[in-house]
């Protein structure tokens, strides 16, 4: 589902991502581990076409990074520690806007479904600015899943989540069957509860060399 071959990103003369190759199978949940500045965020930015690589190539959900950016972006959901929401809009308006931006066909029904799923249905008409941080995070999860992306890229998703938001994240993302997940995190001890495999970056390099992660649990439905 995600395939990277020799992906490289330089900033000036510094190598942020250094010839990274890996494969993630459909439905697999993969943790991307590494210290601060190891290149996790840069790698995710490359895979979401926010940055373009200096070398190497990658496909996400069958779409090539360089030539097929628009289709690639349509098949990924992105969730970072920053909620990426409009504070002056209500939760419902936020989701309706993103549904329109992604050309979601059944926008109204999908927005309602997600607002209910993350427990924001009753507060859908309040300005997002007055909602607590936990609600922001839950709404951000709903935004990332809105267009039913087969692949989800997460950057430190568990940082600063309250218990309810963590439960929503686990239910809708980390344990969602069929969804392919690549999540950068530094919470090494939490990883074993959800991840099928681990990719570890150190100074831009993948420690395992070339890694292939299969979906051992979620897709196959069997415990490891």
């Amino acid at each position: 589902m995600i395939e990277a071959r020799g992906l490289t990103k330089r900033f000036g003369s510094a190598l942020a991502v250094d010839h990274v190759s890996f494969e993630v199978a459909e439905g697999a949940k993969v943790a991307l581990l590494g210290a601060n500045g190891a290149g996790k965020t840069t790698l995710l930015a490359l895979l979401s076409t926010l940055l373009s690589p200096n070398e190497g190539e990658a496909t996400v959900a069958g779409h090539d990074l360089a030539s097929d950016g628009s289709a690639l972006r349509a098949s990924i959901g992105v969730l970072t520690h920053q909620p990426m929401l409009y504070e002056e809009l209500t939760p419902e308006e936020n989701l309706r806007f993103f549904a329109r931006l992604y050309s979601v066909a059944d926008a109204g029904a999908r927005v309602e479904e997600l607002l209910r799923a993350v427990g924001l249905w009753l507060r859908r008409d309040e300005p997002t600015a007055v909602l607590s941080r936990g609600y922001h995070q839950r709404l951000a999860i709903a935004r990332a899943l809105l267009h039913r992306p087969p692949v989800l890229l997460l950057d430190e998703p568990e940082t600063g989540l309250d218990r309810e938001a963590l439960e929503v994240l686990n239910r809708l993302v980390l344990h969602a069957p069929g969804l392919t997940v690549l999540a950068a995190t530094h919470l090494r001890e939490r990883v074993s509860s959800w991840a099928d495999g681990v990719l570890e970056l150190e100074r831009g390099r993948l420690l395992a060399g070339r890694a292939v992660v299969q979906a051992s649990r979620a897709a196959a439905g069997a415990a490891r």
Binding site: Q82, L85, Y86, E87, F97, L101
Partner: protein
């Protein structure tokens, strides 16, 4: 096109919710006209020859204040990234910002024209004048919208955007002032000012559309 309307409708809604920002630009425009009246003795002196300059300087400053923020809010809330990871083409995002800025500024400018018509007892709301205004506003808004992508983390960006924009807009200011003067039956030296204004607007709009994807990238 779908993405453009989505972002445009969202921006117009935000414009309404954050109207304090736009009202302050409108208030600034009103105060600016008033200040010129005192400074240049517009109340008693011969108004007409000075009026085009007064109007366009007011439009330019109000426009830079107002449209300078169009991408800053997105960058601060992190929503700019959300737009960029959506499948929408970057040009669509720019187009939506451009249109929403243009609409808001035209509103302010019409208000200024009405105010000036009353204050200086000069008929300013003619079709010709409005056309010049729309053309000139499109020209400077396309540039200031592009320049407003200057990252919100850059120090003193509020000062920097006018410093960058105004020298580039020299031809627009000159052409717009004289075209407006022509519409008010002032001597303009016979140069095709309206054509210059149209050419300048066409190239800033085109150049901005072509170059926006480069500044939008991280």
């Amino acid at each position: 096109m779908n993405a453009t309307t989505a972002v445009l409708l969202k921006d117009l809604r935000l414009l309404w919710r954050q109207r304090s920002g736009w009202l302050s630009a409108a208030t600034f425009a009103a105060i600016s006209v008033l200040t010129y009246s005192f400074a240049l003795d517009l109340a008693t002196g011969e108004v007409k020859p000075l009026l085009p300059g007064v109007l366009w300087v007011t439009f330019l400053f109000a426009g830079i204040i107002a449209s300078g923020r169009s991408f800053a809010a997105e960058a601060e809330q992190g929503t700019f990234d959300a737009l960029l990871v959506a499948p929408a083409p970057r040009t669509a995002i720019y187009g939506a910002k451009l249109i929403s800025n243009l609409l808001a500024l035209l509103l302010i400018e019409v208000a200024v024209l009405v105010m000036a018509t009353i204050l200086f007892n000069t008929a300013l709301l003619s079709v010709e004048l409005i056309a010049i205004m729309v053309l000139g506003t499109l020209g400077y808004v396309s540039l200031t919208t592009l320049l407003s992508t200057l990252g919100s983390r850059v120090r003193s960006r509020e000062v920097l955007i006018p410093v960058l924009a105004l020298p580039l807009l020299t031809p627009l200011l000159i052409a717009a002032v004289h075209a407006t003067g022509g519409a008010l039956d002032l001597p303009t030296g016979g140069e095709p000012w309206l054509l210059l204004l149209a050419v300048f607007t066409a190239w800033t709009a085109l150049g901005s559309v072509l170059l926006f994807p480069f500044v939008a990238e991280q």
